[in-house]
């Protein structure tokens, strides 16, 4: 690519801002995250079937309630005698053995409506009522990190900014670019024009400095594109001067039909995304935490289409070199019909915000009551979980 040969984009932005005055300069100055800790939030959109991902094979009602889905994990070796990973997630066993993974179960947001969109709103805002917050919990987390200078604390992977990262703390974004050559002089002039637009100027300026890497943006299958973005996230976070927090997503977990095959493909991609993150961040794995979590789990019993419908509690995975791993974190409610939420879903016994607070406190040292109240404003009764060390 031609871009970056003459000057880096950061220099362009500084130059542009300097020519039109100090007010513009503030738009390209970001809070430096003065931390070596890395965090990746991987949003599993569509409602991952937690009972398939992390199957409670030791539950006496498991086989009867799950029917054909129970057979899929029939041969799997339970992690701890009670929970077994879906076979497609077997690559995660190495983290379990190393004590670097905590699977979490019977976990839910505070939302109980079974709507994807409200569920994702609550998952990403970290606030009880859907549509009531205008900022995402990861953006607020980035804002709580100590900082100065001009480094972006957080980036979104992909072509849009997820709700979890929206808010007052400026965040960047990264995606695999189109392989086209562009004149840096042209980009410089166009960027100058954008400085005058109060919406577009700051949004563009939030980009990463430096030349863009040529990439392949033509992966047809969703899985390949997802894995490419996970690799890109790891590259950016691993860089010494790079961002410290990344949010990426994997769509496609809404398995209302033909779940056995669809879940298999989804789980294979998820395992590959997590492997790309762990491999790319191997050098800083002690400083890394990765949380993969979904807006809700799915119904306990299969529906008529070989799938499951929207449910309530589900499973999540926390990985990282300092994670207090080798255990499954769950206050298991049981799968007996009477134990199910409204007679159909896994009952939630753990609030995702206990994880959010636990990551802020245990991983980033953001543990003062006032900071945690800022992170999760209406969760004063939810104590942070001890997840690290």
């Amino acid at each position: 690519m031609a871009i970056g040969m003459a000057s880096t984009r950061r220099e362009i932005l500084k130059g542009g801002a300097a020519t039109i005055g100090g007010a513009a300069l503030s738009r390209v100055v970001f809070a430096r995250a003065e931390t070596e800790q890395r965090f990746v939030l991987l949003i599993l959109r569509g409602g991952m079937d937690g009972l398939s991902a992390l199957a409670p094979v030791g539950d006496p009602d498991f086989v009867r309630e799950r029917r054909a889905f129970a057979e899929i994990v029939g041969g799997a070796r339970p992690l701890d005698g009670f929970f077994a990973l879906h076979p497609a997630l077997a690559p995660l066993e190495r983290h379990w053995r190393n004590g670097h993974m905590t699977p979490i179960h019977a976990l839910a947001t505070s939302h109980r409506g079974r709507s994807h969109f409200e569920g994702q709103d609550v998952l990403e805002s970290g606030v009880v009522a859907p549509n009531s917050a205008s900022t995402g919990w990861v953006n607020r987390l980035a804002g709580l990190l100590p900082g100065s200078g001009d480094r972006l604390p957080a980036i979104a992977l992909g072509a849009s900014v997820p709700y979890a990262l929206r808010g007052p703390t400026r965040v960047g974004s990264a995606q695999t670019p189109l392989p086209i050559a562009v004149s840096s002089a042209f980009i410089e002039r166009a960027t100058l024009l954008w400085n005058d637009d109060p919406v577009l100027g700051p949004a563009l300026a939030a980009g990463e400095a430096g030349p863009r890497m040529a990439g392949t943006a033509n992966a047809y299958r969703g899985g390949e594109a997802d894995i490419a973005l996970a690799k890109l996230a790891a590259e950016r976070l691993a860089a010494p001067g790079g961002p410290r927090i990344a949010v990426l997503e994997q769509n496609g977990w809404d398995t209302h039909s033909a779940q056995i095959n669809r879940f298999q493909r989804q789980a294979e991609t998820l395992a590959a995304m997590l492997a790309a993150l762990a491999d790319g961040l191997a050098g800083v794995w002690r400083n890394t935490a990765v949380l993969a979590v979904s807006e809700f789990g799915r119904t306990v019993r299969p529906n008529g289409a070989g799938g499951t419908d929207h449910g309530t509690a589900g499973a999540a995975f926390l990985l990282g070199g300092n994670v207090r791993g080798g255990r499954v974190l769950a206050d298991w409610p049981g799968l007996a019909r009477a134990q199910q939420h409204e007679g159909r879903d896994l009952k939630p016994t753990l609030d995702v915000r206990a994880l959010y607070k636990g990551i802020a406190a245990g991983h980033f040292g953001v543990d003062s009551p006032s900071a945690l109240a800022e992170l999760c404003p209406d969760a004063t009764g939810v104590a942070p979980l001890a997840l690290f060390g």
Binding site: L178, A203, A225
Partner: protein, 455 residues
Amino acid sequence: MLLSRAAVIAANRFGLGARPAEVPAIAADPRGWLRAQIADAVSGAVPPAPLRAMPFATDHTEALFRARIAAEGGDLDVVNETMARERFRPAALAEAAALFRAQVATEAPFVERWAMFWANHFTVGARLPILGATAGGFEREALRPHLFGRFGDMLLATARHPAMLIYLDNANSVGMSSPVAARFPVGMTENHAREILELHTVGRESGYTQDDVVALARILTGWTFGRTAIDGCKPGHFCFIAQRHEPGTPTLLGRIFGQPDAAQGEAALAMLAAHPATARRLALKLARHFIADDPPEDAVATLERAYLDSGGDLLRLAETLIALPEAWRDDPASRKLRTPREWLIAAARLLDLDVQPGPVWRILQALGQAPFGAPSPAGWPDRAEAWLASDALRQRLDLAYALTRRLPPQLSPAGLLDAALGETAGPATRRAVLGAESAADAFAMLLASPEFQWR
């Protein structure tokens, strides 16, 4: 010709960006230009040329289910994968290219934007290869016949269309007490019912409950398409199969539905289409699309009244929208960010670009809006913040440059600047475009200008 602010709004906010040849007509009477497009569409204008030769969605679904019948005892995954490779993926590419060309070539860009709005409201995403192949047919068959008809008719057409029945899984939903469920291990799925309530009609604000979702799911059991050699239906075509329908008289949103068979679902959808919460929700979505991310309440209320007074007449809604003073305001609070697709269409219309099928797909995918690729049944977001990722914006700049390298020499930067932005071009943009080193750089600067990102 320098377009007035009203003409720029007609061309960009209501349309898809001006083609230079349209400029005189838009300038002469911006609102009249929009109304004439609707009048032509109402009087039976056929779909734009690139869409006329495309296949029916049922050509694909019928082929799929006939192949499945033929493979009885064979491996269905192999059938599916073979058909995906040989038929459905090439078909999806052709559909995406045809739709893009139609939107670039159309002389009725308001009608095309209106179609795009409803296709997003009733999203069918290419979750499976068969859906990529049939999403275009869905738009032509379920949506376009009703663009200026009744919303209730459009809703019914979507609920009966094979692409939607596959996308939201209702094709596989069987009543638990139905004759079929007595013989086979099958059951009900809630997905289509839930999304009809949440996304297509009344919305969460209406306060429906899980019981309402289950009631509508029961009502819609048996709405499917032919799939076997013996079910009496044509494979891949819509069919109500009474043997799959849940008997009973469910209560949905406080109303009891006691009709027999498919009439029960038709009555339920008609009730939902006429519901005040649906009027409110559609009014808000339309105002958000045509006025601002957070549209003024007066405008929403006017649209809501038009919907209720007319019994959900989409022609009345379109006319009301064009007559709204709020939609013609030119201030920072009344503007909409062009989505990547809208940006690429506007660029192609302005410069008469012929973007080939492969590049159309790859460019839209890189910008975050792959054809038929909406991430969920909620469709593409219609608020600016979803599209403000810095790298995606930067890719617009890169593309502005790449798309303008080989243009015919007779194009005039000054003429195209006026056609694209008219009076709304700021002095800095005007200087940057007219002072560019080359015509190619001038066009690139125009596509990259901040004004060109908005409509």
